[in-house]
């Protein structure tokens, strides 16, 4: 039987269409149909100036917009050879890690909702609300922030920034423990997530997975460690690695990543230097002709930007390396052999966002 989990579905995390070939309740084959959210962002970028493209990047992974903006501005800065002041680096680190926590909280909320624990949704969204308030006070917008500018940040940290962030990270471990109380040892949660959606380390590397999906299978790859950007070179943190590559391991990896993010924010707040937050820019931002690839560790995986410039004020080609698009390729391998109810859990564990997949 062919079953269509259509583009409008409460659990496909966006407009994703999955065509399942079923034998009874077991999934035999799976095909994804994407493109429902294609907005032509890369083509639009060919006709805009470099500073004008930054807001479009927020709309890619709209849940974690701050890190998207970071890829773009860092690519342009590195191509131009701009030196960003250290205070901006540290503030970027703090806010990007807050952004990672916000994205993982939303992942936890929707994943728990799909599996049935609705209360965790509301609790995680409450924590995320605190982060979004910090973003609103700092950047002026909650979700699609347009956080960074080429050369640094538009405004320095607002007056109560330290106090608000400190308050958040003081409350946060207790909340994480609450989510763990309800979920991590719950036998129903274990029955629904252990052994579901397994992918081995070799397959994960072969497909090109990145982010928690890769680390859940035991591969130690994190762009923050292997090619540090912003202020990560000065930060002391660990990478959680899973063992079996199943949904439960990815769940534990993401929870632990939230704890490590909290650790990074703590250190960065301590070490925050003074100084300006933006560098002096030329009148028109024009990177030299050539191409450049830069990637960062976004919450969903390695998000990268391949920029081809022809020396003019508008880029020649902007190519996004979308982590969710590449992670989605693993869906077929993860789902075949499982039951239909598991497909929903597996889509949740891959943590895809259609804005990134379709651009």
């Amino acid at each position: 039987m062919v079953l269509n989990m259509g583009p409008q579905h409460p659990s496909t995390h966006g407009v994703l269409r999955v065509v399942l070939k079923l034998d009874g309740e077991t999934v035999m084959d799976l095909d994804c149909d994407i493109g429902y959210l294609h907005r032509g962002m890369e083509k639009i970028a060919e006709n805009r100036m470099y500073t004008q493209i930054a807001p479009y990047w927020d709309r890619l992974d709209y849940i974690a917009a701050v890190s998207n903006g970071l890829v773009w501005v860092e690519t342009v800065e590195q191509m131009m050879g701009l030196a960003v002041p250290p205070r901006a680096h540290y503030l970027r680190t703090i806010l990007t890690e807050l952004n990672r926590i916000a994205s993982h909280l939303l992942w936890l909320a929707t994943h728990a909702l799909d599996i049935g624990a609705v209360t965790v949704l509301l609790w995680a969204l409450r924590e995320r609300e605190e982060i979004l308030k910090i973003f609103e006070r700092q950047f002026g917008a909650r979700l699609t922030c347009h956080a960074w500018r080429v050369g640094g940040m538009p405004n320095d940290a607002y007056d109560d920034f330290n106090k608000d962030v400190r308050q958040f990270i003081n409350n946060f471990p207790k909340r994480l423990d609450e989510y763990e109380t309800v979920l991590s040892e719950n036998r129903i949660w274990l029955s629904r997530t252990v052994g579901i959606g397994m992918i081995s380390a070799e397959d994960a590397i072969a497909i090109g997975l990145s982010g928690p999906a890769l680390r859940g299978s035991g591969v130690a790859w994190d762009v923050r460690k292997s090619r540090p950007y912003a202020a990560y070179a000065d930060m002391d943190f660990d990478i959680p690695l899973g063992e079996n590559g199943d949904t439960y391991d990815r769940y534990l990896v993401r929870l632990e990543e939230m704890r490590q993010s909290r650790r990074i924010i703590d250190q960065a707040l301590e070490k925050l230097p003074d100084g300006p937050v933006n560098a002096k820019l030329p009148k028109v931002v024009k990177p030299p002709a050539g191409d450049y690839y830069h990637s960062i560790e976004g919450p969903k995986g390695e998000i990268g930007c391949y920029l081809v410039s022809d020396g003019t004020a508008q880029p020649w080609r902007v190519r996004v390396r979308p982590p969710s698009f590449i992670n989605l390729q693993a869906l077929r391998q993860m789902c075949v052999g499982h039951l239909v109810a598991d497909v929903v859990a597996i889509i949740g564990t891959l943590d895809i966002v259609l804005g990134e997949i379709d651009r």
Binding site: S11, Q78, A112, T119, W123, L190, G195, L252, Q260, A341
Partner: protein, 436 residues
């Protein structure tokens, strides 16, 4: 008391028109039915309101607040909204069955209330001496409504959803019926009022004698009502919304009401059989001191409070636990609950045999009387409680032995297998500036 004089006045008024027989067997039951249907309908409607409020408080939010003070008029607003919706029937649906399925569901849920003892004397409509059998039988008719709804919707997904729901309900009905037999052995009667009287005269709740039975009954009751954590067939993140996909407006709300009424039925039966029903020892003194009508009214309140505690457990479980997958659900019903219900029957029978055998042996009296159910002395109760608790462990051990191959059973060992590594740092993309 003056407060209840109207009952006698009304009786006298009616005597002018009808004969006493008509009044006793026709008019008063009609009034009782009217009262109980109103009470249950209000209870069901406000159970939806309470569910929204309780779930909201558990989730650190407020729930309905706008309609009426504290949102109290929300069920009425919902009802009005549903009445004004378009009455939509799918294209090639079977019209008459589509119409009748919700009515069958609601009827089967409400008919059960005719035998449930809300209180002593006049607070039960019909004290049939096979009351418990009637409850089980009539609530099974609800499954028919599900199948008819799924079939008549002319939709592949509604049909599959309806079949899955009904398969789940039928599986758990077996466990439900079997678990009640354990308590019946103590009550020695199927009449629900008799069961309450048995608990009253023994001054004990059968929950104490039958912890396993209560647990099995409650779990199968929750699964019977398609409530979380057993609600996969109708969960929103599943592919279908179950059998009621194609229903909208008032027809859908009838299914909704039937679901909540079935919840209330299970709660009421659980209170009656395991929690002592309307009996409360301090309230009983009102009866002996002659305030009969007041006694009845307060007993009804006691019953409502106890049933509400079980309803709270329903809401609590729904909003905390994730849901089982369908195969895990059926697994639990057939491989865990039915064997434990059977083991429970065997153990209870053995326990009663033991107690009766010990009675009079070497001067131990275990049985006090056999008038209303099995009344035990303190010794007898002690023995029964010990066997009840040991029975729990024995059941668990036996089930572990039976289900040793079950995959999920083996997975429930809690472990954290995340390790934290600190890999060596690579070269940064941009060399950090001096002084940073």
């Amino acid at each position: 008391m003056l407060l209840f004089a109207p009952i006698d006045i009304l009786n006298n008024l009616l005597l002018k028109v009808f004969s006493q027989e008509t009044i006793t067997f026709f008019i008063w039951p009609l009034i009782q039915i009217g009262l109980i249907v109103t009470l249950v309908a209000l209870w069901v409607a406000y159970a939806t309101y309470l569910e929204r409020k309780i779930s909201a408080f558990m989730q650190a939010r407020l729930g309905p607040m706008r309609v009426g003070p504290w949102g109290l008029l929300q069920p009425i607003a919902d009802g009005l909204k549903l009445l004004t919706k378009e009455d939509f029937i799918p294209e090639n649906a079977d019209r008459w069955i589509f119409f009748f399925a919700p009515y069958i569901a609601v009827a089967s849920a409400f008919i059960v209330f005719s035998v449930i003892p809300f209180g002593p004397d006049w607070a039960v409509i019909a004290d049939v001496n096979i009351g418990l059998l009637l409850v089980l039988a009539v609530s099974s008719v609800g499954v028919l409504a599900l199948i008819l709804a799924g079939w008549s919707s002319n939709s592949k997904y509604a049909l599959l959803g309806g079949l899955r729901s009904s398969a789940q309900m039928v599986s758990y009905e077996v466990a439900m019926g079997l678990s009640l037999i354990g308590a019946l052995m103590f009550a020695r009667t199927l009449s629900l009022s008799g069961i309450v009287a048995a608990q009253g005269s023994d001054s004990i709740w059968y929950l104490v004698y039958q912890p396993a039975g209560f647990l099995i009954f409650l779990i199968s009751g929750i699964a019977e009502n398609n409530r979380a954590p057993f609600d996969l067939p109708e969960a929103e993140s599943e592919l279908v919304a179950g059998f009621h996909t194609e229903y909208s407006g008032m027809r859908w709300s009838l299914f909704f009401m039937a679901e909540y009424a079935a919840m209330v039925v299970v709660a009421a039966v659980a209170t009656t059989v395991y929690l002592g029903g309307w009996y409360f020892p301090f309230v009983y003194r009102l009866e002996t001191s002659g305030h009969h009508n007041l006694f009845v009214i307060i007993s009804v309140l006691v019953f409502l409070v106890k049933a509400s505690i079980i309803l709270y457990i329903y809401f609590w479980l729904r909003w905390t636990l994730p849901r089982f997958r369908y195969d895990q659900l059926m697994d639990i019903g057939w491989k865990w609950l039915i064997p434990s219900a059977l083991i429970n029957i065997v153990l209870s029978g053995f326990a009663i045999f033991l107690v009766q055998a010990l009675n009079g042996w070497r001067g131990i009296t275990t049985i006090e009387s056999l008038n209303r159910g099995l009344n035990l002395t303190a010794t007898g109760k002690g023995i029964m409680i010990v066997i009840g608790v040991l029975g729990l462990f024995a059941t668990a051990a036996l089930l572990a032995r039976i289900n040793w191959r079950s995959r999920d059973f083996n997975l429930r060992v809690q472990r954290r297998n995340i390790r934290l590594v600190n890999v060596p740092q690579g070269k940064p993309a941009v060399q950090p500036q001096p002084g940073s």
